[in-house]
Amino acid sequence: MSIFDCALARFRAGGYAIALMSASDHRPGAQIKGGAVFPHRHLTGIGGLQPHEIMFLLDEAEQWVDWNRRHAKSHHPLGGLTQINAFFENSTRTLLSFEIAGKRLGADVVNMHAAQSSVKKGETLIDTAMTLNAMRADVIVIRHMASGAVQLIADKVDCAVLNAGDGSHEHPTQALLDALTIRRRRGSIAGQRVVICGDLLHSRVARSNILALTALAAEVRVCAPSTLMPDAIERMGVTPFTDFDAALDGADVVMMLRLQNERMNGGFIPSTREYHLRYGLTPERLERARPDALIMHPGPMNRGVEITSSVADHPERSAITEQVEMGVAVRMACLDVLTRRARGVEGWA
């Protein structure tokens, strides 16, 4: 794909109805009406979603992208509904994104900073879930440090539950916003060579992205030092690399993961400068990827560690701020779709 094609893809993305017709993407969802297209009560992960269900959420998100860019935001489908953001683990960006998404849709958004709440007083997760349920929330967005914790809560409450990240398990809205960014910028997801590089062992972003991108027929390569590579990762349909240069060869998309501070300096890698030497995305290294390769990062970035500023701020190729924008749209789509049954939307009740 040339620079021109890339620009064309962006143009097409503006008129998303055209992008919808991209022949290479699997999308029987377009023909299914109402609730049958997305029969799930919760969004706990990408695992368990069919390819057409993922595409349906992306299509839904497209309209919110345009809507967010217009300034008259008068449509409030979630008016009168209560959205609780229960974050058991600290977060700034994801929490803010969910809060804005809820408020744009007209929901009453309440943030529960569980990291400094009754959980500290020994209340169990189930009790907290029952409490939120008794308060008659209409949708609960949960982030928790333990893998599987969101599913545990989802099984106990009556309203829709949205996973905003559980341990090292899943972060489905991040994968959806990444997929949407790729689809808008590259025109399609199928056939794209996507390289995911960083702390794969502990990354829920990586797991959800692997599930979403492989489901949508992208060619996914994962790259990390062996100390940060999960066992049997190839069983998830990806090709593992320890040599970043080799992984980057011919890449359409380069997705860098954040390296957590506590994992640096001897724990899993010897030092940040050694990590940068082997896995830092520099302009020289980026030469190995396709000339129009897209640069992505879920944020927050460690500039100078996994990514250099000149790459992160690349005017044409970096999609990092666009990912943040897509994040709001994707979360609006998820909140809207998951509350349709409760709201009695025609065809969904």
């Binding site: 893998s147 599987g148 599913q151 341990g167 090292s168 998830m236």
Partner: protein
């Protein structure tokens, strides 16, 4: 003097003498005779109607005293793990544990090998033996310091006490709740390579060989682990090893959907390791089959997987699950009975686990074919945390006797 007790028309299954049909006479709490014998006229008789009469189960390595579950499962003696509160490392505590179950349940304490199970200082093994301990154990954890483990083995050898060890390399297994593999990767659970087990076994075997101690590896669950034990036995190392039905019947995919009832220690292994365990059961590498009974209520299990306590409450299921291996022709019935009675009794230095005249009349009458379905909510155990919830099984304990006295 109680009346003699006569069992008539039984399928007698004895680890020593095999399978036969006939009668069994109990006098003064001990087995008096078996086979075609003249019954005393004053004997109380039980018509077994061809059902199996065998030594009752000696469950080596339980974590809780759970009388109802044990009796429902045909268990009359247990080897109690030292991981109690307080830890079984003091004669007063050991003696109390040894006495509280009698006469209905004989508890054989496994005293802590190190003080407080901390893995640093030797515990008072001789004094605790005097208080009723039948072996010493490392508890739920491995002793990381090889020097300490060597001293534990050497000292226990002097006392002819078996050392019951948990073999999982502490460094590799530190924060892990699963075995490294596709399931753990997909679930995003902290995992240790299966290698953590053979690494630990290799060291403990070498130390046992050097010191001449008796080593019982409570749970061996990996192919490489079985290979090491098999080779050591050939060399004449005094080693025995055990397993629970969970590792014979389930692989790590049972943890899917974060099912905490499948959170075990050691964690469930790959299907290849499970197959190796079945082969080791068939070829005699495995000596002891135990329940590893560890009841855990919802406050410890209804949590995120990583925060939940490991363990399964399988005492009352052990026999039914184990009979499946006989039905599958993995091993003959008399060998299965050896695995759940005679062999664990031998590790603990007990005279139980046989139908030979003179042995204590610890007996179970079992309908090997009676079908039933495991239901977590209907279990007799203190908690129903079993990964086998819903599984149809066959085999029920009809009657249970300890020293000739009826318990069930």
């Amino acid at each position: 003097m109680s009346r003699p007790l006569a069992f008539l028309n039984a399928e007698l299954v004895c680890p020593d003498s095999g399978v036969s049909t006939g009668n069994l006479l109990v006098r003064d709490g001990a087995i008096a005779a078996t086979g075609s014998i003249d019954m005393p006229s004053d004997a109380e008789t039980i018509d077994c109607k061809g059902k199996m009469l065998s030594p009752a189960i000696v469950d080596l390595g339980v974590f809780a005293i759970d009388l109802d579950a044990f009796h429902a499962g045909g268990i009359v003696r247990v080897g109690l793990m030292p991981d109690q509160s307080p830890v079984l490392d003091d004669p007063g505590i050991v003696q109390r544990a040894a006495l509280i179950g009698k006469p209905k349940l004989w508890i054989h304490p496994l005293a802590a090998a190190t003080q407080g199970l901390a893995g640093t200082d030797l515990a008072e093994m001789a004094i605790n033996r005097g208080a009723g301990a039948k072996a010493v154990a490392t508890g739920r954890r491995w002793i990381a310091d090889s020097n300490v483990m060597r001293k534990v083995l050497a000292y226990a050898r002097d006392l002819d006490l078996a050392v019951v060890a948990h073999a999982e390399d502490g460094g590799l297994a530190a924060n892990a709740v699963a075995t490294a593999g596709e399931t753990a990767t997909r679930l995003g659970l902290a995992a240790a390579p299966a290698l953590a087990e053979p690494l630990a076994i290799a060291r403990d075997l070498m130390l046992a060989e050097e010191t001449g101690a008796r080593l019982h590896l409570r749970q061996v669950t990996t192919e490489q682990g079985f290979d090491l034990v098999r080779a050591a036995k050939r060399r004449g190392v005094r080693v025995t090893c055990g397993i629970t039905p969970s590792h014979l019947l389930l692989s790590d995919i049972a943890m899917s959907d974060f099912r905490t009832f499948a959170h075990l220690s050691p964690p469930l292994r790959s299907e290849a390791d499970r197959q190796a365990a079945l082969a080791a059961l068939a070829d005699g590498t495995i000596d002891v089959l135990s329940s590893g009974h560890d009841p855990r209520g919802p406050e410890e299990k209804r949590l995120p997987f990583v925060d939940s306590a490991p363990g399964a409450a399988n005492a009352e299921l052990l026999l039914a699950l184990a009979l499946g291996f006989v039905r599958d022709e993995l091993l003959p019935i008399e060998r299965l009975i050896a695995l759940i009675s005679a062999n664990p009794a031998r590790v603990l230095g007990l005279d139980a686990g046989t139908l030979a005249p003179g042995a204590p009349a610890d007996l179970m009458l079992v309908d090997r074919d009676a079908p039933w379905q495991i239901a977590s909510e209907r279990m007799r155990a203190k908690a129903g945390n079993t990964p086998f919830d819903g599984l149809p099984v066959q085999g029920k304990v009809l009657r249970l006797f300890k020293g000739g006295a009826a318990l069930v």
